[in-house]
Each structure stands twice: as C-alpha cells, then as structure tokens.
C-alpha cells in the first residue's frame, strides 16, 4: 500500500477501495462517501497535497457506477501528484462537495454538474456554468447526441 493510501486509511479506515500505479501516475480509488475525508487527509497530511489541480468526470454507461470522478491533487512541497477516483452512481449521481476543503473546487464541480449531471451536495452555488442556465440535458454524457441540438436563437430572426 502506498503512503497516500496509508494516509487516507489512517484518517478514515476503510475508505480506500484500491490503488494502482500506471504510467507513473498513482491512482487511489476511494469510497464515494469518504471523498471529503480522503481529500482533507491528503491536504493536511505530511505530503501536503495542498493544491487541487482538477476535478473531472468520465461517463461509462455500462459500468454500475457510471460516472467516474477524478480528483487531481498536487503537492507543492515535493511536486508529487495523486489522482483520487470514485464512482458517483448511475441513477441520481451525487457526491459530497469538496468545496469545504478547497474553495477552488467550486467551478470545477459546477462544470462536472453542468456537463454530466452529477450533483455535489453541500456545494454553495450548484448551477450550470458553461451552458446557458435553461439548457436541457448534460452534453458530455455518452448518450447525449452530437449535432442533435436545436439551433440557438433561430426564433429571433
């Protein structure tokens, strides 16, 4: 078990589901319910993963968890990086927001909500960010067609 997993396990026993290192990138899979605890443990732990580089999501319609979230964490002290991964669930995807750990997660989570429809509980202002507020659907889902959307503002001509 890597140091990163050990740190998470110490703060929140049972949170780590698995880990693997591929192409020099360490990925730790954690339980969805423990994501905030895992993030906080890594931020405050000895390796100081203080910078949240990115939160993003990928849609796997055939997987039971469907929406796979990836949190890219960076340690400014050592330059080390780790990716936390978790599945948000196929029906009614939701997860706890990490804005309490990093305020910078705000827009990243809004983007994932906008594009994938994953709800972040406890987020201060969860609304669409790149698409118009009244947009239908979540464009980056795999079942959202490309080219099928209505042409905008065509009624104004």
């Amino acid at each position: 078990m890597s140091d990163v997993s050990a740190q998470i396990e110490m703060a929140s026993p049972g949170a780590v589901v698995g880990e693997h290192e591929l192409l020099g990138e360490l990925t730790v899979e954690v339980q969805k319910e423990r994501i905030v605890e895992a993030c906080r443990a890594l931020r405050d732990g000895p390796s100081q993963y203080v910078l949240l580089s990115d939160i993003t999501c990928a849609d796997f319609p055939d997987e039971p968890g469907r929406f796979r979230l990836a949190y890219e964490l960076t340690s400014l002290a050592t330059g080390a990086r780790v990716r936390l991964r978790t599945w948000a669930g196929a029906l009614d995807p939701e997860i706890e927001s990490v804005t309490s750990v990093w305020p910078g997660a705000n827009w990243m989570e809004r983007e994932v909500y906008d594009m994938f429809g994953v709800r972040f509980n406890g987020h201060p202002d969860l609304c669409r960010i790149l698409n118009p507020l009244d947009w239908d659907g979540h464009p980056l889902r795999r079942d959202y067609p490309i080219g099928g959307e209505e042409v905008q503002f065509s009624d104004a001509v």
């Binding site: 192409l23 990138e25 949240l52 993003t56 669409r128 790149l130 698409n131 980056l140 959202y144 490309i146």
Partner: protein
C-alpha cells in the same frame, strides 16, 4: 441580490460589465455589486465562447483532436497542443526524439513571450498606457511571423504531433530567430522604461488585488499570479518535462502578491524565456523530429511515391486513425497562465473516450471576487487584467 430598502441603508448598486466590455479581456461578463466606488461582490459569468471542444474530441480520432484542442486557449496554442500530445504519448508509450523535444521547448517559450506580450499590451491599454500596446504587438507580430515560418499558420498551428513535430525547422528560421532574440532584451527594456517606474502605473497597481499565498493555493490558482505571491511553483522546475531539466533558468517570484508584482514577474519571465531559447539555439541536437512508429506517425511525404506500405499506413492513419491502449493519463505543463493539463481516457479505440482540459484561466478566474472585494471599481480593471484570463480557454 435584492436591494435592501430599509431607511438609512444605502442600497448597493449592481452594474454589469460585459460580456463584451473592452476591459473584461474577451467575452467575460462581470456582475459587480458596488457600495459607492467600492466593490462589494463580483460574480463572473462565463460560457459565452463555449464551443463543446471536449465533446467534439470524443467524436473525432485521436489525431484529429490535436487540431481541436489547439483552439482552446488561443494565446497559447502550443501549450494546448503540447499537453494533449504529451498525454496521448504517455498512453501510447511512444518515445519523442530529442530534437523534437527541444523544438517543442523552443516554441513553447516563444509562445510564452507572445502570450505575455498580448497580456502586457492589453493591460497597458486598459490602464491608459496606450503606446505599450503598439510596441508589444509589434514584437508579437514578429513572433507570429516566426510561427508562420515553422507551421504555415500564425495561430492555431497544428505543428506538434503525437510523437514529435510535423516537420523540421525551415531554412533561415534560426537566423531570423537569433535576430529576434538579440533585439528582444532591448525591447523589454523599452517597455520597462515606459512602465516600471511610471508613477501612474505604480499607483494603479501597487497594493491592489492582494491575496495571501495560502488563499490563492486553496483557490487552485497557479502560474505567475501564484508566483507573484511568493510561491516558486513552476512545473518546468518541479516536474520537468520535454527536457526542461537541461536548461538553466530562474523562476521569477515576488512577495507582494499585488498587481505590480504580477507585472514584474511576467516581464522577468519573458527574459528567462529568452535565456532558454538561446540555449535551445546553441545546443539543438540533430536527428529526426518525429518518432519512427508507422502505426502512429504519418510516413514521410516522399515515401508515398514509391512505397506501397507507406501508402497503406498513410491511408489507415488518415481514414481510421491510430488506436490508443486503454487507460487514463494526465500530463500537466506550465502554460503562460499556469498549470495546464489534459486528462485523457482511452477505451482502446481510435477515438478518445474522454478529453478534458484543465485550463489555468478557468481556475484562476475564480480568484476574481476575493481579489476585488473591498477595492475600488477602477482597481477591478487592473486586477482582471493581471489575472490574464483567456476566454477561449475558460469556456472551451
């Protein structure tokens, strides 16, 4: 945000800047809540340039995606394309030849100078230093000419490829580049003579838009904005890629964390980039500029005339694209605005399962409100200018 109508309470004034106001750096909209001249709250509204590039990438082959991602941050096209190709190369396990790596460093640093010149010119314009704008764009135009020599395009060059660079540097390029490098330090002195000691410039910038480094880190801010607050975080140093460990250069930092410090850091970064470019010119290794993997890289043009196999490879690559082993990769680089990274997921096919760009402007822009609160409205212009957001990258 309903106005407070109680007697004796001054109602805040809501004003709208943009989405096309010249001071908002592109199609950014800011809803500003004012108490007199003082900014109480700023709400950035983004998405006006959203073109769904990430979604389009999923419906194109891996190598078509190179063209798409170049158009995200339009002031740093080489940065976009570099992080994307690096991520794909990571998944493919393909080795990029030394000469290609050095050319990539060369163009990335030229791009950094070009981007900082646009930043300096437009910021000067917004704060009333109009001549700086003309000088900066004069030099930037020379850079665009150099880019055109290399790639045939002034912007949105599809020059970096998965595996290396599209072609070698053209004849006469190094000479013209050397002339530019020799001239540029004097030009930077010229901008500094106009700005660094200028009392108006200092008044508008010093002590304006300060946040402690810890707050900036918590907001995810990277790049010159973070370095101006005293954190020497530069991915070229902390996680060297493309052979940056071979070059001698400093990471300029400042401690004040205000607009003026961000200005100084960027100007010094231009000088450091010039140092790196000179080292590339002096030590550019010979050899191929692209990997020799016919399953991924297009065969040389001349081979198509006589090699049936090359023709087949060419046809397969253009019509079907190459397959990338299943997995995920994230290869961050230091773009002119901070950490830019491309997160790619492959399902083993010729098209990406997911392409996501971590754009530094998108994350940095979140700092607008905390930086502006309590400052005057006029300072907001300076603060947004020195954050240097590029909306093409923010909205993607």
């Amino acid at each position: 945000m309903l106005a407070d109508t109680r007697p004796g309470v001054r109602a805040p004034l809501l004003i709208n800047l943009g989405p096309n106001h010249p001071s908002t750096h592109g199609v950014l909209r800011l809803i500003v809540e004012l108490d007199g001249e003082v900014v109480k709250e700023v709400t950035p509204v983004i998405g006006y340039l959203h073109t769904g590039i990430e979604k389009q990438c999923e419906n194109k082959t891996w190598w078509q995606g190179v063209t798409l991602v170049t158009r995200m941050d339009y002031l740093a096209p080489f940065a976009n394309i570099k992080t994307y190709t690096m991520s794909v190369e990571k998944l493919l396990g393909i080795e990029v030849p030394g000469r290609a790596q050095w050319i990539r460093v060369l163009l990335a640093e030229l791009n950094r100078i070009a981007s900082h010149l646009v930043w300096l010119g437009t910021s000067g314009l917004e704060l009333g230093a109009m001549s700086v704008f003309f000088y900066c764009y004069r030099e930037r135009d020379e850079l665009l000419d150099l880019f055109e020599m290399v790639s045939g395009e002034r912007m949105n060059h599809r020059y970096f490829q998965v595996g290396g660079c599209a072609q070698d540097l053209p004849p006469g390029f190094i000479e013209r580049l050397q002339a530019f490098i020799d001239e540029m330090p004097r030009r930077i002195d010229e901008y500094e003579a106009l700005l660094t000691g200028n009392p108006i410039w200092k008044d508008r910038m010093k002590g304006v838009g300060v946040l402690p480094a810890d707050d900036l880190i918590a907001l995810g801010v990277t790049g010159p904005t973070l370095r101006a607050a005293g954190v020497p975080h530069d991915l070229r140093k902390t996680n060297p890629y493309s052979g940056y460990e071979h070059f001698q250069f400093e990471v300029p930092t400042a401690t004040e964390g205000d607009c003026y410090a961000r200005y100084l850091v960027r100007v010094r970064e231009m000088r450091e980039s010039l140092r790196i470019i000179q080292q590339v010119i002096d030590g550019l290794p010979e050899g191929p500029t692209i990997a020799d993997d016919r399953k991924v890289v297009l065969p040389p043009r001349e081979e198509l005339a006589w090699s049936m196999e090359a023709l087949i490879h060419h046809f397969k690559l253009v019509s079907e694209g190459f397959k990338v082993p299943a997995g995920e990769a994230y290869a961050p680089i230091e773009s002119p605005r901070g950490e830019m990274g491309c997160y790619v997921v492959s399902d083993g096919g010729p098209k990406p399962h997911r392409v996501h760009m971590r754009d530094p402007s998108f994350v940095n822009l979140q700092a607008t409100a905390p930086l502006c609160r309590g400052n005057y409205l006029a300072d907001l212009i300076a603060i947004v200018a020195t954050l240097d957001p590029v909306m093409g990258g923010v909205d993607r």
